[in-house]
Symmetry: C2
Subunit: 345 residues, 2 copies
Amino acid sequence: MRATILHEAGDVRVEDAPDPVIEQPTDAVVRTVRSCVCGSDLHPFHSLPAADGPTPMGHEFIGVVEELGSEVTGLNRGDLVVSPFAFADNTCEYCREGLHTSCPKGGWYGAGGIGGAQAEAVRVPQAQGTLVKLPTGVDSALLPSLLTLADVYGTGYHAAKQARVREGDTVTVIGDGAVGLLAVLSAKQLGAERIILMGRHKDRTDLGRFFGATDVIAERGEEGIAKLRDLTGGHGTRAVLEAVGHMPAYEMAVGVVRPGGVISRVGVPQYEDAPVGFGSLFGPNITLTGGPAPVRAYIDELLPAVLDGAVDPGRVFDRTVSLEEVPDGYRAMDRREALKVMIAF
Amino acid sequence: MRATILHEAGDVRVEDAPDPVIEQPTDAVVRTVRSCVCGSDLHPFHSLPAADGPTPMGHEFIGVVEELGSEVTGLNRGDLVVSPFAFADNTCEYCREGLHTSCPKGGWYGAGGIGGAQAEAVRVPQAQGTLVKLPTGVDSALLPSLLTLADVYGTGYHAAKQARVREGDTVTVIGDGAVGLLAVLSAKQLGAERIILMGRHKDRTDLGRFFGATDVIAERGEEGIAKLRDLTGGHGTRAVLEAVGHMPAYEMAVGVVRPGGVISRVGVPQYEDAPVGFGSLFGPNITLTGGPAPVRAYIDELLPAVLDGAVDPGRVFDRTVSLEEVPDGYRAMDRREALKVMIAF
């Protein structure tokens, strides 16, 4: 089959790879129908050392079940399914608590011998716990929105849930990528009354307004912080959803959060150490939360509004490419020419 | 009057100071009956640069109201009162939310022209919102326990509340100082079933067992982490209450917290940057919370069990000194010869 491989920073290729096969009785092999490029794929695209490559890419997909291991029940060949970006058994104590990303039998696509999803087919470990059957056809107009359930919608939702966004809240969202925009949608769904989106790409923040942002701040750094404080009577907001992962976004979050408030991070941190002492988090009793979203836990909750068209998270896809064009998709996202690139097979 | 002044690290003296007087109509002057030395006083005792001194010391006290500003109502001369370690108006939006340490009119004893409480008398700003009248006499045997409401009991309780300790929980408490031990008591009061106390001073951890600790781990660092993981089936505990403030305690907290769990810090951090990235907090969805405790918010909640003798937090005081002996009290606590030193006037 053909698959997307990152060799080192900047060098992403679509090349021949072995066809995935059932290796464990809990596996499935899924033929990809839709996949996409994630903002988090851009982090290794910027920085992967050649010594750490080559690595298979992609972790979001919808596909058709092609083969099933002997222990997988509840799924059939031919089922259209969506996969969360992390696989999990959905039965252990962590999964039962809704923390599928800490499942001891779980893991990530593109690591540990599991292929990536920017490929013609994918081996899915723990298939029974991981895959969710979709009640639509392979030609449904809902596929883009359904594909966001694999990661970016559930990740934005995780940010809002971990921040305990509630009816009437004022919320800041940092970042106008797909996750930030769907954090806006999620905050809106959870009842936030005022949603301040910090982002500087007008086409994206316009989509953020469509999803529910009431205010947009294009300024960054101290200027952005000052503007947000102006908008909130000097206080900042109780909930801050950080959907970027770079240190300036963390510093922005610390600058705009209200005393006693919550910074909820879902952008994968590109740093290990950060300020958490008296002058940043401790003095004003700020809570720092978040992590890789257990999106499997949210699919059941988010699916109905997608199916009935009440929400349209698939609007984050503004470009569609074929598998062979994926390297162009990376470059388009990297140059901010595309918000999020879908791959149609 | 006589007051305790820290000139620089290691140099604490009791010396003459001006008698406090009413400066604002919202002030009170309180004649000290009991005060004490706090574990957090040891931080500047170890590190205060001479250029930052001299600084008045002490922030926990019970006393008798001596003078009242013209705008203070609800208090009378002669009332026995306890003061939280931070003063606050108790009417602003932060105070109404129970976050008195972020009150815009609030502040700290021993800073900004406000004296310390290791002194014969104290000027109390925002007296009406700050002081809580006690229904006991100045010779009550309950004074030690009532004095803990000024800081260490409320601070331990804050750690447990911020970690959302609940019925049946398993909780780790890091630190066997007064705050750690009262975090044990607080976790017990909130229903924790298993409380693992990490501390290496047997007399203190014995008191911890009296307050409710079910297990004690004396080992530190990697050895302590391994022991705790052994005790918890490899998982760590959902709630970790960190009552020290030094980096090794933070690292220990990261090492023993269960995925999806909470590290609740109330030890004043002696660091600004700390690990919070994928390898520490983000990957396993750990929440970091805590800060200076809004103890004013907890006094009403904690007072009844102190008054009826259901709890005896005053057992953390194992030495009593006169005001003139306070420097000896600092040294005794610094050498771990005393757990917590009370000052009787």
